[in-house]
């Protein structure tokens, strides 16, 4: 698998800016959650989603030991080490120590990223140390 052109990934992701936050949704300009954003970018960069996403609750996976999201991404995308992840990479954040990584964002530059944030919708913001420290996994979108 070769990875998709990061400039293209970023351009597609930025088209989602301003999309309101909505749990489980994935529709540009209408509503999405953090995973919905990643799915939407996937559809535009790579193609149709390979499998339907099952319904999930806000607290899904919080009690289990399995990295469900990372395992799913690993099957479809090119894993890179978080230290090497550059612009265009999809990153998974571990929001709480010892919980699974379940927040998703897309790096848009050396010090910025784009994600769907509750109450604010899709925003691009600086990748502060607080965010950077929480990156647990990183993946590249494959070439179509």
């Amino acid at each position: 698998m070769t990875s998709a052109d990061p400039t293209r990934v970023i351009a597609i992701a930025r088209a989602w800016l301003g999309t309101p936050y909505h749990d489980q949704a994935s529709l540009r300009g209408v509503g999405c959650d953090c995973l919905g954003l990643a799915r939407g970018v996937w559809r535009e960069v790579v193609g149709p989603e390979p499998f339907p996403i099952p319904p999930y609750s806000r607290d899904w996976g919080e009690t289990g030991p399995r990295e469900v999201l990372a395992e799913g991404a690993r099957r479809m995308m090119i894993e890179v080490s978080p230290a090497e992840a550059g612009p265009g990479a999809l990153v998974l954040f571990r929001m709480k120590p010892r919980a699974i990584a379940k927040h998703v964002g897309i790096l848009t530059g050396p010090g910025s990223f784009l994600h769907a944030y509750e109450r604010l919708g899709v925003i691009e913001e600086p990748l502060t140390n607080a965010w950077r420290r929480r990156i647990a996994f990183a993946f590249l979108f494959p070439q179509r």
């Binding site: 109450r119 604010l120 925003i123 913001e125 600086p126 607080a130």
Partner: protein, 538 residues
């Protein structure tokens, strides 16, 4: 009466009242914000009815009050202090309606009861003082320690490079959001206000701004040693609780209810001494005899039965029930904390490395020789005296009878065999390593020094490696044992041990023996020969 009314007004009054009320200046009133202001007014009213009386009400420190004052002075902090702040940004309260329905089931008379609850949330930023600060300790809301679990908050040190808060920027637009450079501030996102009577709570913060100039202790301290070395879960970064007949009690949440002691300790360390780069992590096992030939070195526990969640105590594959039990004092309390559980040591190493600190692993021997022991004292002629000194220093472990006493084994082959007994026969391959756990597969009765040190070499490797590793510290009584005129078997045993540790930890780890100061100038036997042997030098 006034207490109620003014108490509800709360912090909104701030220091912004102009003029004077009841002859008291606004500045004074500004200092009495909060629910106590009402009681103060009450006492003024009462005292004005009886002018000869002088009642002084509760007095508050203005520094600890959150306010929202235009033109307020930005405080300057030296050291560590509990302080209030100035609200520099806030959203309108967000209202959420929660409706619950009760009753109306089968057979029940009457209608349903529908309850509507209104929940309020606020996002706000509180400026604290001039930066840069190095950390925030405890936070109090309305005078009580604030429960921060589930609260999204962050702080900015107030340096000259900090960037605008992304949450504020998303609300206000990036162009109109300042980074508040030079000002230390805290941002709370969507704080649930129901706990605080649906108003912003009075917040105060423990703020650290050490005088870390290059000529101060805080600025100069680059390395510290982490003790107590003992305590079964002291070093764990994961909350550990003991369960005892239905009650659950935290083992390692003493400083804060929601952060483990190890994490709090490291936070405070880095906040107070920001120049620290390296930490020596001390971990103790227990020796039980000053005679090298009889001393067993074992991991110990405080009590032999205790159920803990989520992890049980285990060191080198030894479970709590089969571990050495540290001795008791006259009130049946353990005289030492137990050996830190292996998982706690791994967590401590990983936590420190994740913070960018360098880690030196420092294995330690505490001597559990109780006051009423009947062990032969090696420091007596023919070792004939009964009873060794209580809780001695590990540096006194030596051959028996020791050099200089009648019947001494000094300069004999017996001395060498006593040293060999203390070190034991553990080899790097006597351990089984699986993930982050290391257990012993050698002879069960082998409680030599080598087992302890090689165990920790494996454990440090399993934890992801350490920067430096000590194979021993301050053992002059041992290193000066001679089996011949100038032959030091313990020094050779340490050299062999070092090579084995090197084979486990690799060439990237600094490995050494931490000599006692009395060993720096070699071994001077004190037998009238005038000899000086630099016994630790190759």
């Amino acid at each position: 009466m006034a207490t109620l009314v003014l108490g509800a007004a709360g912090a909104a009054i701030g220091g912004s009242i102009g003029g004077a009320i009841l002859g008291v200046s606004a500045a004074t009133i500004g200092g009495f914000i909060g629910s106590s202001i009402g009681s103060v007014v009450d006492s003024w009213i009462i005292s004005s009815l009886a002018p000869t009386q002088r009642i002084e009400g509760a007095r508050l420190d203005t520094l600890r009050i959150t306010s929202a004052t235009e033109g307020a002075v930005i405080q300057r902090l030296y050291g560590r202090m509990r302080m209030g702040g100035n609200i520099i940004w806030a959203t309108d309260f967000r209202e959420k309606t929660k409706t619950t329905t009760q009753g109306g089931g089968k057979g029940g008379g009457g209608g349903k009861v529908r309850t509507a609850e209104y929940l309020y949330y606020a996002s706000f930023a509180v400026a604290l003082c001039e930066g840069p600060i190095t950390g925030i300790g405890r936070i109090w809301a309305d005078g009580k320690p604030m429960d921060l679990s589930g609260v999204t908050w962050r702080w900015y040190p107030g340096d000259e490079v900090q960037t605008a808060d992304p949450f504020i920027a998303a609300r206000m637009g990036a162009v109109s959001t300042p980074a508040y450079r030079g000002t230390a501030y805290v941002v709370f996102e969507e704080l649930a206000l129901s706990t605080y009577g649906n108003r912003l709570p009075q917040l105060s913060f423990e703020v650290f701004r050490p005088l870390a100039d290059p000529d101060t202790a805080e600025g100069l301290t680059r390395a510290v040693t982490m003790i107590p070395a003992s305590g079964e879960f002291t070093y764990a970064t994961q909350a550990t609780r003991k369960t005892d007949g239905g009650t659950t009690q935290a083992e390692n949440l003493n400083a804060l209810p929601d952060a483990t002691d190890m994490v709090v300790a490291l936070d405070r360390l880095q906040a107070k001494a920001p120049a620290v780069e390296s930490v020596s992590l001390v971990v103790a096992w227990f020796g039980d005899d000053l005679r090298a030939g009889s001393c067993k070195v074992r991991p110990g526990v405080e009590v032999s039965a205790k159920a803990t969640t989520p992890r049980s105590w285990s060191v080198n594959g030894v479970s709590r029930a089969s571990a050495f039990l540290v001795s008791r004092d006259d009130q049946d309390r353990p005289v030492y904390g137990g050996t830190p559980s292996d998982f706690a040591v791994v967590q401590a190493i990983q936590e420190m490395k994740a913070r960018g600190l360098r880690v030196t692993f420092y294995p330690f021997i505490l001597m559990d020789v109780p006051p009423d022991n009947t062990l032969p004292n090696p420091y007596s002629d023919n070792a004939a005296e009964t009873g060794q000194p209580a809780f001695p220093w590990r540096g006194r472990i030596t051959s028996s009878p020791a050099a200089g006493y009648a019947g001494s084994v000094d300069k004999t082959a017996t001395a060498a065999s006593q040293v060999a007994a203390l070190f034991g026969a553990a080899k790097p391959a006597s351990f089984s390593v699986s993930g982050e756990s290391v257990s012993w597969i050698g002879s069960p009765g082998d409680w030599g020094l080598r087992r302890m040190v090689l165990h920790y070499a494996h454990l440090c490797a399993a934890a992801g490696g350490v920067d430096a590793f000590l194979i021993g510290t301050e053992m002059p009584g041992l290193t000066t044992i001679r089996s011949g005129a100038s032959t030091y078997p313990a020094v050779q045993a340490y050299r062999d041990l070092l090579a084995d540790v090197r084979s486990i930890l690799g060439s990237g780890t600094k490995i050494g023996y931490a000599a006692d100061w009395s060993e720096y100038f070699g071994h001077q036997p004190g037998d009238g020969s005038g000899d000086v042997f630099f016994h630790l030098v190759d």
